[in-house]
């Protein structure tokens, strides 16, 4: 994802701002990192350049 997306995306649950943490970057593309909600503290991973902003109960690691 591009860093300029930070002005557009928000937490899917409470719509609050997100805080970006970059682990790996290639030019303006953020490949690995995370987005943390400044309100509820939920952490959304950025993997392979695509942020996973699914609500927690729809994620891969959610309990079945």
């Amino acid at each position: 994802m591009k860093e300029s997306l930070m002005e557009i995306v928000c937490c899917p649950i409470d719509k609050a701002d997100l805080e970006l943490d970059v682990e790996e970057r290639e030019g303006e593309e953020i490949l690995e990192g995370s987005l943390t909600c400044t309100e509820c503290g939920e952490v959304y991973p950025i993997e392979d350049g695509i942020p996973n902003l699914l609500p927690p109960d729809m994620r891969e690691d959610a309990a079945a």
Partner: protein
């Protein structure tokens, strides 16, 4: 398991084959976009990005949102192959990770019928209304009983199999709408219907935020 997760996992599984069979944009989407433009475009349930590609020609920036990561990778490949820009987000149509009042032009086609119940579907339409800018427009479509495949007057829940090459079938949840039911659902949300049509077995509503 929650139905929304099940649908997402199904599309992750069939993503590659599904994308191959979804080459061309729908004429109804092309007709909606004709003469429209804006700063930010949004494709909810973007799949392989065939409609995000159309939006990219009419807006400065396009967001493609899909619950399935497999489909988002297909969209990324298509965008690279065809040379259009799209910002891809893994997200749920019922909980959009997009700030309010930003989107000028949106398409939400052939996706809402995968959401598990009326409350969730109306909630997703409220979400679309929330992200639309004043003056923004969106096209919402769903599969309907008007399709020749179905012999029903009233809307119903069903499972439609996807057949992979090799013959394996993968089930997908659908709510098949009666056209008037779809219209009522849109009108119950924070969206206002500007025009409504039934075409090729799908219902289409052109919508804006309720005043």
């Amino acid at each position: 398991m929650d139905e929304s997760r099940r649908v997402r996992e199904t599309y992750d599984r069939i993503a590659s084959h599904f994308a191959d069979t979804r080459e061309h944009p729908w004429p109804e989407v092309e007709a909606f976009l004709e003469g429209r433009q804006g700063t930010l475009g949004l494709d909810v349930g973007c799949a392989n990005g065939r409609h995000a590609q159309l939006l990219a020609a009419r807006t400065d920036r396009v967001l493609g949102v899909d619950a399935s990561r497999g489909l988002l990778f297909e969209a990324r490949t298509r965008a690279r192959d065809r040379g259009f820009g799209v910002d891809l987000l893994q997200g749920d149509a019922a909980a959009l990770p997009v700030r309010s009042e930003r989107v000028d032009l949106a398409v939400y086609v052939a996706t809402i019928h995968h959401l598990p119940d009326r409350e969730t579907r109306v909630g997703s339409l409220d979400e679309l209304a929330r992200v639309l800018a004043p003056g923004g427009r969106a096209l919402v479509s769903a599969w309907s009983t008007a399709h020749g495949k179905f012999d029903a007057e009233a809307g119903f829940d069903t499972t439609v199999d996807w057949t992979l090459p090799g013959g394996e079938t993968v089930p997908r949840f659908y709510h098949i709408y009666a056209p008037e039911e779809f219209r009522a659902e849109v009108e119950d949300s924070a969206l206002a219907v500007e025009s409504f049509e039934v075409s090729s077995g799908n219902c289409y509503a052109t919508v804006k935020r309720e005043q």
